[in-house]
Symmetry: C2
Subunit: 409 residues, 2 copies
Amino acid sequence: MPEFFNVQPVQAALDRLLSYWKPQLRTETADPRQALGRVLAAEVYSPLDLPTFPRSTVDGYAVRAADTFGASQSLPAYLICTGIIPMGAAAEMALRSGQAIEIHTGGMLPPGADAVVMVEKTQPYSDHEIEVLAPVAPGENVIQVGEDVDRGEIILPAGHTLRPQDIGGLLAVGLLEIELVTPPRVGILSCGDELVTPEENPASGQIRDINAHILASMIEEAGGEPVLLGIARDTLDDYLAHAQAGFHQVDMLVMTAGSSVSTRDLTRQVIETLGKPGVLQHGLAVKPGKPTILAVCENKPVIGLPGNPVSAMLVARQILIPLIHHAVGKTLKPIATIRAILTRNLASTTGREDTIPVKLTAKERGWLAEPVFGKSNLIYTLIRADGLVSVPLNSNGILAGTEVEVFLL
Amino acid sequence: MPEFFNVQPVQAALDRLLSYWKPQLRTETADPRQALGRVLAAEVYSPLDLPTFPRSTVDGYAVRAADTFGASQSLPAYLICTGIIPMGAAAEMALRSGQAIEIHTGGMLPPGADAVVMVEKTQPYSDHEIEVLAPVAPGENVIQVGEDVDRGEIILPAGHTLRPQDIGGLLAVGLLEIELVTPPRVGILSCGDELVTPEENPASGQIRDINAHILASMIEEAGGEPVLLGIARDTLDDYLAHAQAGFHQVDMLVMTAGSSVSTRDLTRQVIETLGKPGVLQHGLAVKPGKPTILAVCENKPVIGLPGNPVSAMLVARQILIPLIHHAVGKTLKPIATIRAILTRNLASTTGREDTIPVKLTAKERGWLAEPVFGKSNLIYTLIRADGLVSVPLNSNGILAGTEVEVFLL
């Protein structure tokens, strides 16, 4: 059993897990209009040149640029206006030297024209003639065929998460079916004799299981499909029964259990029955969240999270969410943050990464980050907070007044 | 008609529109587990104290703190262990002076106990007796009733957007039904003789209408319900017919039309038929997006966007999205950004706010922001970009090498 009992930094533990896991992508096709926020399973090529015809970018006159060379206010070029190009129709009337054809923004450049003079740079001279008051260069005020995207060009890479403009770009080239990654199923199993469902009225000594629903929302946001596997009791038999019944339905399993020594041992025992290689890491160099378990069983990640909801949520951000991103092959984007001035000293211990919830308040210019202190079991510390500040592994704290990066929560 | 023809900065134009519009909230109830990302219509009060019973935060022994005062390694306190508190059950056995009761993390403190000694600070002395090796203060290692949240406390404000932890917090206090803002219906009408639907095969001179679908995705992301009103032709009759048929179904209307002078005039004429006060602003001090129209008709915002997709999308970010947030009463959060080093000079004009798409690339430490240049009609400039850099109103540009804030796109 390739296990380490010593605590490890998050990245080292994740890297170790990834070395034992090869995610199997499932894919499905969909209309881009139903695919906002979904991840592309394969790169997408443009089936055509965009635009498919040369287009004017201004209102004005399609011309041969050479006919305007040298034109000025005092010495205009005179061109015969032979018609107007209707929007949405092919420009069939060819343009000859010495001629101009009226055109609107987005209109198709007629054969023979190579530029457009803006209407503001012209004035009517007679019924059928205009004065051009400034020269245009060949190609000026024109979008050429394929200038937006070329036929055969890769327009979006595999792993890309679809944004509104991507949906527009796919439709623009006529792609009405694309291949998406099917959200991986992530099983969620809660364990504890004290837990009841949110529907039940807890008796004295009982609490509602909220971890399952916090994790389900996080999994959904990250692009996974949460699968609720219920509440197991603190006996090996019941825990095993729930875990084994759920395991074959899912691509990944996350379990939360009380952090007492006895239930922690239960989680380990249960994981070891699910397959090889089993538990890879027991203990993370983080606060909160130290007693986290990372495992891979039969090529499925299995994560044992602490039972208290704050630890469970913060470790899920650091471990579970990156695993879901990896499972869907998502290209990772830089993470946007808020810069804020810390209002209080944050003490920490070298060799451990601390995560501290903060509340943001606007100051004259910028933001203040006020730590929300509270025992790590109190879910409302995360509800009162707007974001998180991280104290890195090799730091023993951050002084009040320091500018910190706040990750929105 | 209270109109200004001169261009205005975005904020001034928005403020003016808001002064003519009083959004009418519609509300609905839902289970918090189906409400991720939704906006609360009313503040939420806790119906109970959380926790409802005093809980241990550690594994150890419930005690009277006074019994441990003065205890040390060399002079332990001796306590009689009278039993164990089962998880999930009421602690009924009262604790008397000189006694200890074994307790797990999350267990209910028995009557008579006021603190918990961590198991690590004890050792067994006999079958029924333990040694306590360090003192605990009253309340130590205990979460008191209501310490997480008090009965009657406002736990979430109206206008709050629900995050995973909020859903957990609502369930924790037994709230299975909450009042949400119903997404406002935002009508989208495209106008242009050159437009066909994405399903159609455009003939020469025609293009697929992508604006409607880009805007629909943006509206959905912002918490609105997009209502596609189809494509109108460039005639006053057809444009009027579509706009008037759609207007009564929606809470807000956005129209895109060619930016040619003629179609811009059409949009204005159509808006004026929809009700009072009508067009408030024609022209924004932004690039791209100058020919934008802002109006309020019968207490519904009506926005006329330029027809080219880049301008339409960027102005929608600046105008339409804030209006949707206002319509749902959403509390605005600080916007997270990426700090990056600009790779090229960005020229601009004072008195105008420019928005420039940039591509982010990782450098040794941090990010580089490379402007994605291209004519403002090219949708793929926004697809190749990761974010946007804003050149403020009173600046004439930003020099290469400057650290800029990048808004993710």
